[in-house]
């Protein structure tokens, strides 16, 4: 009989856009919570969201008292000539004893490695490290301990990747909003609105959104471009650029992706067998109830797989975008 490698018990890495969401996530069973500072140093730079230094200190204390970790995302690309707020963010994450910083920019990673060697570093999905040579580069040069994989790889490719980069850990997205482009390598938002994930920490920013009533229904626009049109009986979704309806070769379609959410609950056994160390839930912009519901579902799912039991039947339809779900790039047919 062939020997079977013991399964790694994956950490659940949960989003928190506010101190209240952090507490909800920890209370619902999160192993880690990831957060950002209230500025453009992180990729969810939305009004009314994120943490000031005092809130982060208190949030870390709350999590640590309950055995949970806090990861700080500083995952935009510092502005030319003005790296100070990014450097300060790294210094404050280290000072407040964050369990890791999640970084994307090579220059910032080098700075963090040099000036705060005690701070554990994770590579953000925004760095788009999609192969073992890229991952080893960050690990060998800057002692990066974990890489959040870009959403371009299948489960089979992830299973093949893990033994080749050990002891570097991998973290994958399991639920929530879904980028269809390789993250960190997409300038569509700045092309249309002047603001991008890499530079400003926003994609399809709300300030550029407009809904217009027409006799036929509602038109959604981003930066003055029509992203979608909805009949009166349809719900008008948010005009995320790559989830719109466009015309190519005289045919209107959801050319890039439909309005849909990633949900890999049914794939948890495969992802655990693939040797993934951490499962990430997207949604720092979401409310407490959302975070709690998703964390509870995935907590139950992971615990069932680890106990050798069947997956619980949990319906997350009501909280997914437009009620539609996909397993995204994890299955090859998606490409």
């Amino acid at each position: 009989m062939a020997s079977v490698a013991p399964l790694i018990r994956p950490e659940l890495v949960c989003p928190a856009g506010t101190p209240a969401a952090l507490k909800s996530a920890v209370d619902a069973g999160a192993d880690c919570v990831y957060v950002g500072f209230r500025d453009e140093t992180n990729a969810r730079n939305f009004p009314g969201l994120n943490f000031n230094r005092k809130e982060l200190g208190e949030g870390i204390a709350y999590a640590h008292e309950r055995g949970a970790k806090v990861l700080v995302a500083i995952n935009t690309f510092p502005r030319a000539g003005k790296p100070e707020i990014w450097h300060q963010a790294v210094a404050d994450a280290a000072r407040l004893k964050a369990d890791a910083a999640i970084l994307a920019d090579i220059g910032l990673i080098e700075h963090a490695h040099r000036t705060h060697p005690e701070l554990r570093l994770h590579l953000s999905v925004q760095a788009a490290a999609s192969n073992p040579d890229s991952i080893r580069f960050y690990a060998e040069r800057f002692d990066v301990k974990r890489v959040v994989l870009p959403r371009v790889l299948t489960v089979q490719e992830i299973a093949a990747l893990n033994p080749r980069i050990a002891p570097v850990e991998t973290e994958v997205f399991v639920f929530g909003g879904l980028c269809v482009m390789a993250e960190g390598r997409c300038a569509l938002s700045s092309y249309v609105t002047g603001q991008s994930p890499n530079m400003n920490g926003v994609c399809s920013p709300a300030g550029e959104v407009r809904y217009t009533e027409t006799p036929q229904g509602i038109t959604s626009e981003l930066g003055g471009f029509t992203i979608n049109k909805f009949a009166h009986d349809e719900a008008a979704g948010y005009p995320t650029l790559c989830k719109g309806r466009f015309i190519a070769h005289d045919k209107a379609s959801y050319l890039f992706e439909e309005p849909t959410s990633l949900n890999t609950l049914s794939m948890l056994p495969d992802l655990i067998k693939a040797g993934v160390t951490a499962f990430k839930i997207e949604g720092r912009q979401r409310g407490r109830a959302y975070v709690a519901a998703v964390v509870q579902a995935f907590r139950a799912g992971v615990d069932a797989v680890m106990a050798g039991k069947p997956l619980p039947d949990i319906d997350l339809d009501r909280i997914t975008e437009g009620g539609k779900q996909t397993t995204g790039a994890y299955e090859k047919a998606w490409r």
Binding site: F77, P78, R79, A80, G81, P83, D105, I106, G107, L108, E110, H111, Q126, A127, A128, A129, S130, N131, P132, D133, S134, R136, F137, R151, V152, L153, V180, M181, A182, G184, R185, C186, A187, L188, S190, Y191, V192, T193, G194, S196, N198, M199, T219, F225, T226, I227, N228, K229, F246, I247, A248, H249, A252, L255, F256, E257, A329, A333, W334, R335
Partner: protein, 301 residues
């Protein structure tokens, strides 16, 4: 007094027929007034085998005509085959390599290379890291403004290049949108991206020009045109400009940029000439003015 910047002809990002691509490079070798020419598949590794047999003769012809030849790498490297190709490319001797994925730069072991526009290079810290890895030239991402590229140029001894003409590469994906638009999968794509040699036009539901699709790559619908900006950028230490090949007369486009940079053709006249060279094209230069990329800001602001 600054010297006149150099011109780079970027790699052909589209799926042109191999013989047409070879003939394009032969004409560039014989007629185009550019300093450097990039060769190599950047977008989709499924296309690589078709042009590979022609590369040695194309490189020889370009080098024989006095052009610096640069071999560009793939942008998104995932499969074992792609990883092996990238490693082999990084080991190439006697010819400059452009890294469009960090894995390629990481393999250079200090040998000189070009840091490509599909790497994320937004600040002087990252520039310094790449210089330490062996980068001698950097082509900056399209998103950056004139102030940002000038700031970066002032911070480095590396040669700094800015994208100045052609449809802009904006995003890369594991999914093929050319195939998806025709209800095909990437595996069974039938190479339909070859049907659109300048990319597949994408319009909004109001039939307003929006984006363009080149297989797994999403590009601008608008053609980037920095004719009115290159002299100002040259005065701010930008030493090189990249022209992305389109099906229009690239020899004439290169000559136009050369003439404007040398002060022989006025900017207004040059814009008219470029419109004639690219019938039907809509131009944009918003990014360099710190605005949305699709906008065109004229010299008067």
């Amino acid at each position: 007094m600054t010297s006149i910047p150099k011109l780079t002809l970027g790699p052909v990002l589209f799926n042109w027929k191999p013989e047409a691509l070879r003939d394009f490079y032969f004409r560039v070798a014989d007629e185009a007034d550019v300093d450097s020419v990039h060769v190599g598949e950047v977008v989709c590794s499924k296309r690589t085998p078709f042009f590979e047999p022609f590369i040695p003769e194309v490189v020889e012809r370009l080098a024989g005509a006095g052009k610096e030849v640069v071999l560009s790498s793939l942008a998104l490297i995932m499969s074992d085959r792609e990883i092996a190709q990238a490693r082999e490319l990084a080991q190439t001797d006697g010819i400059l390599v452009e890294a469009n994925d960090i894995s390629v730069a990481a393999q250079m072991n200090g040998r000189p290379f070009v840091a490509g526009p599909l790497l994320n290079i937004y600040n002087e810290g990252t520039l310094a890291s790449l210089a330490a890895m062996g980068a001698v030239r950097v082509c900056l991402p399209a998103e950056l403004s004139a102030d940002a590229v000038a700031c970066l140029a002032a911070s480095t001894a590396m040669e700094v290049e800015v994208q100045a003409f052609g449809r802009l590469p904006l995003a890369i994906s594991a999914r093929c949108y050319a195939a998806r638009a025709r209800n095909l999968s990437k595996d069974g794509c039938q190479y339909v991206c070859a049907d659109d040699p300048d990319g597949m036009a994408v319009e909004t539901l109001d039939e307003v020009p929006f984006l363009a699709v080149n297989g797994t790559q999403t590009m601008s619908y608008h053609t980037m045109d920095l004719l009115g900006d290159v002299r100002g950028l040259a005065a701010r230490q930008i030493q090189r400009f990249r022209l992305w090949p389109q099906t229009c007369d690239m020899v004439a486009v290169a000559a136009l940029f050369r003439s404007v940079l040398a002060g022989k053709t006025g900017e207004e006249e040059a814009e008219d000439l470029l419109s004639d060279l690219c019938p039907g094209a809509e131009f944009a230069n918003g990014y360099i003015h710190g605005r949305s990329g699709h906008l065109f800001i004229d010299a008067q602001g």
